[in-house]
């Protein structure tokens, strides 16, 4: 039953309270019964003693009457007195019979015995003797009779009876005192018992509340920590009462909250990641937009550049032809004009070629036919042609090769070298040396074009190979161009499986390096089908 009740705090309290009540009630009942018994016992004893007192009184009075009546008879010879004496003697006998069973102590029993004996002798021997003596008028005899000690005996008996009576009264008093003492002791015991029960109950309640308090404090601390956003690791209190339930609920709640929190954190992280992603995408979009804008600007710039670059040589060609057609010119002038016209036509062709190449590159239709190429005989005529356009530069071809052949598209390579040597001249307006180095290693041929011209600012180096990119510095504004040359060169070098790089000291000159794969004899047999891929490059 206790274990059953232990399940709840309320029940525990109830058990304690009920136990206390039961204990109190039991105590009260026991106290009541004890007191009742005490009182009953006392009353019984008192009744008995009162009876005894009464019996003793009766014995005393009848004894005295007997003696008194007898004396009266002897004194006055009155028959009535004698009759009285007999009556009293009978009464005494009666009283003795009543007292006898009440006599409890040995003295009383002795008294009873003495009285009985006296009465016996008195009524059976002395009285008849005295009666006879009186009737005979023999008072001497009566005197003798009394002097035999009867009177003394009577007096001592009377004394004894009186003593018995007062003794009894004293006893009654004593018993009453005893009864009162016992009652008081009982009351004290009951009071003590009540105090004890109360103390035990209080102790139980205190223990119980302490048992509740600690886990409650722990739970409170945990709840506060949880509220403050801390991580809570609380173990479930294994109890069957409300606290156990509360603890279980709290642990569950903590778990739920922490799970939610983790979920939230995860969500948050996800959101943050998504946001980052969005921001990244936005930035990308922005970048894309800017790039598109840039491309747009580049395109419109290209249009204006192309338009300008086309019109300028056309103006020369048209102008000089018109002059030649409308004027009679000397031979020298004619030659000069024709040279100019030719030069401008070449320029126009180059521009259109570059532009078309670019268009092909953009549309992806750009292929090369690879063959065994010796670069030196390609470069020599280019230098030859370009050197005719300048007298400020001197040219040098330094051939340090150990291998003769590279794998390439001759026409394309001419384009590259023309462009690079052309740039070297174009961007060194003060003149100087333009040197072309040809070297190789195990796998590649390296062609370096070195000039002593304007050079390229470090910040521009990563951009010079971009399409349409021209460096917009005052030192080269008057130098014409489309910004397509290097982009085309790069595309061609990469189509060969090679590279093109630049190193430059601004104001000191530039070195453009073209790395191209060497010709491998095997290549023809292994990659024999290569020629099938041939698409007209031009």
């Amino acid at each position: 039953m206790i274990t059953l009740f232990r399940q709840t705090i309320r029940k525990q309290f109830l058990v304690i309270m009920v136990a206390m009540l039961l204990l109190l009630m039991a105590g009260a009942a026991v106290a009541y019964l004890a007191e009742k018994r005490l009182a009953d016992e006392y009353m019984e004893e008192r009744r008995k003693m009162n009876e005894k007192v009464k019996a003793v009184g009766l014995v005393e009075s009848s004894f005295k009457h007997t003696i008194f009546s007898m004396r009266g008879y002897i004194a006055f010879q009155n028959e009535e007195e004698l009759q009285q004496a007999y009556n009293s003697a009978r009464k005494l006998k009666e009283a003795m019979r009543k007292f006898k069973p009440l006599a409890s102590s040995s003295e009383e029993k002795q008294l009873v015995a003495e009285l009985a004996e006296f009465n016996g002798t008195y009524t059976n021997q002395l009285v008849p003797k005295a009666e006879a003596l009186v009737k005979a008028g023999n008072y001497e005899g009566v005197r003798q009779l009394s002097s035999l000690g009867t009177t003394d005996q009577i007096l001592s008996l009377i004394q004894a009876v009186e003593a018995e009576k007062s003794g009894l009264n004293e006893l009654i008093d004593q018993r009453y005192k005893q009864f009162l003492e016992k009652t008081r002791a009982l009351n004290a015991a009951v009071a003590g018992y009540f105090v004890f029960v109360f103390a035990v109950t209080s102790g139980a309640v205190w223990l119980l509340s302490r048992k509740l308090g600690q886990p409650l404090q722990e739970l409170t601390a945990a709840a506060e920590k949880l509220a403050a956003g801390g991580e809570v690791h609380i173990r479930q209190i294994k109890r069957k009462d409300e606290l156990g339930v509360l603890s279980a609920a709290f642990v569950h709640m903590t778990k739920t909250i922490q799970e939610r929190e983790h979920e939230l954190t995860a969500h948050n992280e996800e959101l943050m990641m998504q946001q980052e992603e969005l921001e990244r995408m936005l930035a990308e979009t922005e970048q894309m937009k800017n790039r598109l804008l840039e491309v747009d600007q580049l395109k419109s710039e290209l249009v204006s550049t192309v338009s300008h670059e086309l019109r300028t040589p056309l103006a020369g060609i048209l102008g000089f032809t018109e002059l030649m057609l409308n004027r009679s010119l000397n031979q020298e002038k004619q030659k000069k004009y024709l040279t100019t016209i030719h030069q401008e036509a070449v320029r126009l062709t180059n521009l259109i070629n570059d532009f078309l190449d670019l268009q092909r590159m953009e549309s992806g239709a750009f292929a090369c036919s690879f063959e065994k190429v010796d670069p030196a005989p390609l470069i020599e005529p280019i230098i030859e042609t370009i050197s005719q356009t300048t007298n400020r530069h001197h040219f040098q071809l330094i051939d340090q090769r150990s291998k003769k052949w590279l794998s390439g598209d001759q026409e394309r390579l001419i384009q590259v070298f023309t462009n690079l040597i052309g740039n070297a001249v174009k961007f060194s307006p003060q003149g100087g040396q333009v040197a072309v180095y040809v070297t190789n290693n195990e796998k590649n041929m390296l062609i370096k074009i070195k000039d002593e011209g304007l050079g390229i600012p470090a910040a521009e180096i990563p951009h010079v190979f971009k399409k349409f990119h021209r460096i917009d510095n005052s030192d080269r504004r008057k130098i014409g161009g489309t910004g397509l040359g290097l982009a085309v060169c790069k595309e061609i070098a990469e189509a060969h499986g090679g590279t093109i790089t630049v190193s430059s000291e601004y104001g000191e000159g530039s070195v453009f390096s073209v790395l191209l794969p060497l010709w491998e004899e095997k290549e023809t047999t292994v990659n024999g089908e290569r020629s099938d891929e041939y698409i007209d490059c031009r």
């Binding site: 300008h308 103006a315 102008g319 018109e322 004027r327 100019t340 030069q343 401008e344 504004r477």
Partner: protein, 117 residues
């Protein structure tokens, strides 16, 4: 006529010089805007033939600078035929336009016409 030709293209300068010297004009060459301004500081000209696209200083900038001190007749030679550019040049103070490529005979006609005014 005293004529200044400012163009960054040597070929075009040559064409114009050859065309107009034959007609009896005196020509001075400038390879860019700055040179043109410098020439204006040294001499006075009757006519300025000015390229639109030149490095360092565009034709428009040259007109503005020249117009600060001179009311010389200005003919713009331009490959840029867009209306926007022409209006800008007009506002700056250009008098005539000649689109590249141009005919040398037309140029002679124009210069003669300007001379007669």
């Amino acid at each position: 006529m005293n004529i200044l030709i400012a163009d960054d293209e040597e070929v075009l300068r040559m064409l114009i010089v050859d065309t107009l010297e034959e007609e009896g004009h005196v020509l001075t060459e400038a390879a860019d805007g700055h040179e043109a301004i410098e020439c204006f500081k040294e001499k006075t000209f009757d006519l300025l033939l000015l390229d639109y696209m030149m490095p360092r200083m565009t034709g428009i900038e040259v007109i503005r600078k020249v117009r600060e001190t001179s009311d010389v007749k200005i003919v713009m030679l331009t490959a840029k035929t867009q209306q926007r550019n022409l209006e800008e040049a007009k506002e700056a103070g250009a008098d005539f336009f000649l689109a590249k490529p141009f005919s040398p005979l037309k140029l002679i006609e124009l210069v003669t016409e300007l001379e007669e005014r």
